[in-house]
Every structure is written in C-alpha cells, then in structure tokens.
C-alpha cells in the first residue's frame, strides 16, 4: 500500500526523472521500509520522503527552465520564438495530485525551515579530529632534578657557549629571582643565570628522583675562595687558587678517578711550567684550563668557565611564589609553543622555543601535537629554542614513533624514561615526514631533540649547525667568577663516539636559519608530491 502511495508521489517529478530513476527510487523505498521498522523509523522515513519531495520536485522543474533560457538566447534575426516546457502535457490526474500535494509540500517545507532542516554540513569530521586528540598514556613524570642535570651545568663549548647563552635570558627562567633579573641586564654574561634559574626549578616540589649528579652542588670540600678575584687582571696567586680548586673538584666529583688524577697532574704541570703566566684575562684563562683538561680526558663535557658577573653563592631556594610565577609565565607564553599551524599542502608547523616541564605544560603539548595529527608532514621549528626538560623532548618525540624509541641523552645513563612513551593512542604522525629547523642558537635540549631524530634518521634537519652545548656536566662554583661543569654520569652514545658537545649538530640540509622554513617546506612538498 505505502509503496503505491510513494509510486504516485513519484509522478510529481518531471517525466524524464521518473523514466530514469523512478524504478530505482521505488527500490530504495522498498529497501528502507524493509530495514526501518517500528513506529519512529517509519515516521522518520515518511518525513524524509515528504521533505525530499518538497525540496527536490520544485528543483527538478526549476532546473528544466535554464534549458529554455539557453535556447532563447539563440535569436534568429529578431523573429519571435516560442518554446514549450515539454512535448507532453501533464496528465489531469498528475495535475490534481500535484495541487493537493503542493499544500502538503508547503507545510512540510515551512516546518523544515523552522526546524533548521536536516541537511546540515557534517560536523562529524571535526569531532573525529577532536577524538584523535585523545591524550597519550601519561608519560612518566620526569623529576625536575633531571632538568637540573639538563641545565645546571654551564655550556660545554667555552666561549662559543657563553656567547650563545647570553641574550637568551628572556627564558622562562627569568621569572625566578630578582637577582637573575639583574644579571639579565648585563649583556656580557648570562650563563650562571641560566644555570641557577633552572636549578631553582629543579627543587620545585615535584617528584624528584635521586639519580645522582643532578643537584647543583656547592663545592664545600673545596677551599672556598672568599676574596673576589680581580677578574680583568688575574695574578699568579689567583690563577693558582683556581687551578687548585679545579683539581680538588675533579678529584672529588669526576666519574673516573684515574683520569681525574691525570688531569690534575697536567693542570699542575702547565701551571708550573709557566704556560698560564700570560693569562691575565679570566675568559681566556678558563678556556685554556678547559683545553688542558680535555687534552688529557678527551671529555668534551668537562669545562671550566668564567663569568664576569659574580656568581651567586648558592642557588636561591625556590619558593611557592616563584614556582607559581614560573607556571603563570609558562601559561602566558603558551608554554613556549609560539606557533602551531597548518601550512599549505597540509604541512604541520610547530614553533617551539623551549621544552618546558611536562608537569606544567603536558596538556599544551598534547593539544598542540593533536592539532597537527592529520597533517601529511611536520616541521619542528627549533631555531629559537633554548633547550629545556628531557621529559618534554621525549613527549614530543613520542609522536614520531609507533614504538618506544631510545633517546640518547649525554647527561645520564639510560633509565626507563629514556624511551619515548610511544605509541601515542590515536596518533597518525608516526610515519609522516618530519623536519627540524635549526640555527646557531639552537641549544641543549633542543640539540638533543635534533641530534637523536637525525641519528635515528627520523627527521631531516634544515638550517645551521647548532650551538654545541650538551650541558652534561654538573655545575660546581669555584668562586665569584669561576665555575666548572663536571660530568658525573656516563651515558653510552649508541650512534657515534661523540655527541654535539663543542661541535653542534650538523644539519642534513645546510641553509641560513632565515631560509630554513622555506627550504623545509619545499622539501616536504616535493616529498609529498612523489608519494
């Protein structure tokens, strides 16, 4: 019965439509009546059909007209022409039925309008997108002490490092203490600022681990040098004090006691032979001592640095206020995720200027990565990245693998947290091409990210050779102006004998930092095009 009614209704359509699709439409009607049983589905079926009729019958007739208009444009010498809509006149029954149903259609149509209609563009894709943002299994909370390991030791590259760390004081570190803010203004040296400000963070009341070597240590065992060294012009006694303190530190803290002894002998020998006598400039002297130690140990993570600005006696203890300040500053700066966007050709772009602690910024990182989940390639812009926390390095890297991958970190022996928390549920980036943009300012944790992804052949590095600071040593203050970084743990590098300490991470594609984005975009486009 209902099929007959619908067959009648189908006659409302123009005859050409009925001829072409009448049978199929009836077939579809039968399929639906068979599949949709019960009062509500049946009601919905008829509602759908009537709404469909109300919309598509007028449209079918409407679209028949332009044919006539098109024809009428072919004027023949100004002669009047008449066209008819069809070559068959409508059957009287159809006209009557049409008249009756026009009313029904009108009512349905107006009710459709008032209810907003069913035919909305789908928003399901957006919802799926959101679903894909499901958080990964929460990565192991990395104790902040590690961050101290990350950052509390001065850069390894001597002058180079110092130069690069200065001017980077607009880091999240700045909210920490007024003392640092003051140092901030001194253009020449900000290295200790970095160290101490971040070691502040290290003692935040977050789960700490006691993996050694990470707390900044005040060298109590070493004879403290109360008198501030005249830093521009060192005299022999001052040089001797620094050498003695360095030797004491080495013997007490260096991982290999025998090598420490050899270095001590070498430092003493150089001092006695008068090699250092010409050294009146603190910076040059520190560099010379670093070279002397490295000549013996071949350990690039060992260094002695000089700071023009007085080094604080003891890193300021973080207060709840300073922690709150740090958190707030991170939030205000969107956790240093400066830009997350999708470039043309569906290439994801993430500009990250710091790898912040996951205890503060995990949600931001997850959201940022989720919003790039459906891209075909990802560009990580680390050109202004000043390093940060290894747990964030691991979290971001985890999106690039679908299995846990070991991330080498020169600061520490492998722990369960040295593996990325992959696979991330719902993640689709594990097999997408990745690019890392580097500059000569890319440092520390950012160098770890670049180095590991390069060595794992998971990303193409585009830009400049990085700073070359692994920050693998633990910071020991010698006096107001001298301090040294001494590695106390040894991590075996699975990729090569050396890491980036002192030499930086070489990019795969060497271009000026300013051109790196453009180059990477082109590389990505070419790669996607080939697919």
């Amino acid at each position: 019965m209902s099929e007959k009614i619908y067959a009648l209704l189908l006659r409302l359509f123009p005859s050409h439509f009925g001829e072409a699709y009448g049978d199929e439409a009836l077939q579809l009607f039968r399929d639906r009546t068979r599949d949709e049983k019960g009062f509500f589905p049946r009601f919905r079926l008829w509602f759908d059909l009537l709404a469909d009729l109300a919309i598509s019958v007028p449209r079918e007739y409407f679209y028949a007209e332009p044919e006539l208009l098109a024809a009428s444009s072919q004027r023949l010498g100004g002669a009047p022409l008449f066209y008819v809509a069809g070559d068959e006149s409508p059957r009287p029954g159809a006209l009557f039925l049409g008249g009756m149903l026009a009313l029904a259609a009108l009512v349905t149509f107006s009710s459709l309008l008032s209810h907003g209609g069913n035919h909305r563009p789908p928003s399901s894709s957006a919802r799926q997108f959101q679903r894909a943002a499901a958080p990964p299994s929460s990565p192991p909370t990395r104790p902040a002490t590690q961050a101290a390991g990350d950052t509390n030791s001065p850069g390894g590259g001597g002058d180079k490092t110092i130069a690069s760390t200065s001017g980077q004081s607009a880091t999240p570190a700045t909210p920490f203490s007024p003392a640092q803010a003051k140092q901030d203004n001194s253009p020449s040296r900000t290295l200790p600022l970095r160290d101490h400000s971040l070691s502040d963070l290290s003692s935040t009341p977050q789960p700490l681990d006691t993996r050694g070597s990470t707390q900044p240590t005040q060298n109590e065992a070493v004879p403290a040098i109360a008198a501030a060294v005249q830093h521009e012009n060192l005299n022999a006694a001052e040089r001797q004090r620094v050498v003695d303190a360095a030797i004491a530190n080495l013997k007490q803290h260096y991982i290999y006691p025998d090598v420490a002894q050899k270095m001590a002998d070498a430092l003493l020998a150089h001092a006695k032979s008068g090699d250092d006598d010409a050294m009146t400039d603190g910076k040059t002297f520190a560099k010379r001592l670093t070279t002397q130690m490295r000549d013996v140990s071949h350990d690039m993570h060992l260094e002695l640095v000089y700071s023009e600005a007085p080094l604080p006696q003891r890193p300021a203890e973080p207060t709840p206020e300073s922690i709150a300040r740090f958190r707030k500053s991170m939030e205000q700066q969107n956790c240093m995720f400066e830009k997350v966007e999708i470039l043309p050709h569906n290439i994801g772009y993430l500009k990250l200027n710091f790898f912040p602690d996951t205890s503060v910024c995990q949600a931001t990182a997850i959201a940022a990565m989720a919003s790039l989940n459906n891209t075909d390639a990802v560009i990580f812009d680390l050109r202004d990245n000043r390093g940060g926390f290894p747990d964030m390095v691991a979290l971001i890297s985890s999106y690039l693998f679908d299995y846990p991958e070991y991330l080498y970190n020169p600061r520490e022996a492998p722990t369960p947290q040295s593996w990325t928390p992959s696979p991330v549920p719902g993640n689709r980036l594990a097999d997408k091409p990745a690019y890392v943009l580097t500059s000569a300012k890319t440092i520390s944790g950012a160098e770890q990210f670049s180095y590991d992804l390069k060595m794992l052949k998971r990303a193409t590095l585009v830009g400049e050779t990085t700073t070359g600071s692994a920050h693998a040593g633990v910071w020991h203050r010698i006096d107001d102006h001298f301090g040294m970084g001494i590695p106390e743990a040894k991590a075996v590098n699975p990729f090569s004998k050396t890491d980036w300490e002192g030499v930086g991470v070489e990019p795969d594609v060497k271009v000026n930092a300013a051109d790196a984005l453009q180059t990477a975009e082109k590389l990505a486009e070419t790669k996607l095009h080939k697919k």
């Binding site: 009607f29 399929d31 469909d52 679209y63 563009p121 789908p122 969107n334 995720f337 966007e341």
Partner: protein, 116 residues
Amino acid sequence: MPKRKLDPLPSAAFQILLSLAGEDLHGYGIMRQVAVQTDGRMRLGPGTLYSSIQTLLQGKFIEEVGLREDAKLGQERRRYYRLTSAGRKLARTEADRLAGFLRVARARMILRGEYV
C-alpha cells in the same frame, strides 16, 4: 537536460562523492553510507539522491558500472556507481576549501579550547 551547477558543490553531492571514495555502491548503499559518515545527520531522500547522482553523472564525476545483485539485499539487480578520477579531484578540492575554513576558524579562536 540542462547542466546544473556544481560550483559551489552542494553538500549532498560532496557526501555522495565521499561515500564512493571507498567502494562502488548502489543508490541505497550511497544513502546508508552518507548517513553513516555524517553520524545520521544527512539521510538523502530519493529525489535529492538521484538528482545529485544525475548531475554528477553528467559532469563525469561518477560513472555507472552496470547492474548486479547485492547479496545482502536479495535478488533485485541494482545499478552501481563508481567515483571517477575527476570526481576524486572535485572532492579533494572541496575538502581543501573546507579545511581552509577550519584554519580560519582556528585562527579566529572560534575553536578555542579544542585546539591550540
């Protein structure tokens, strides 16, 4: 028949193209696939469905691939439709256009809280 416009692409036509991206379907199959992929928001009635199919056929965005039975739906022979390469391109263009809107919405913070 006059050619009706596919620019801008009506959402029904776009959904039909999407439904055929995976496999060849008959009319009822298209209707069900569209309902699934729009979470039940769009149920194409026969009029809309076949007029859209007709338009897409004329534009050579889909093609007929003959009559055959659908084992799940009994003995009746059904006409199957297939997406052409032009149709795939058209769907991709439309998807790009929508993705553009999404980007703008995100940039304008309309989607704040859901995306960064």
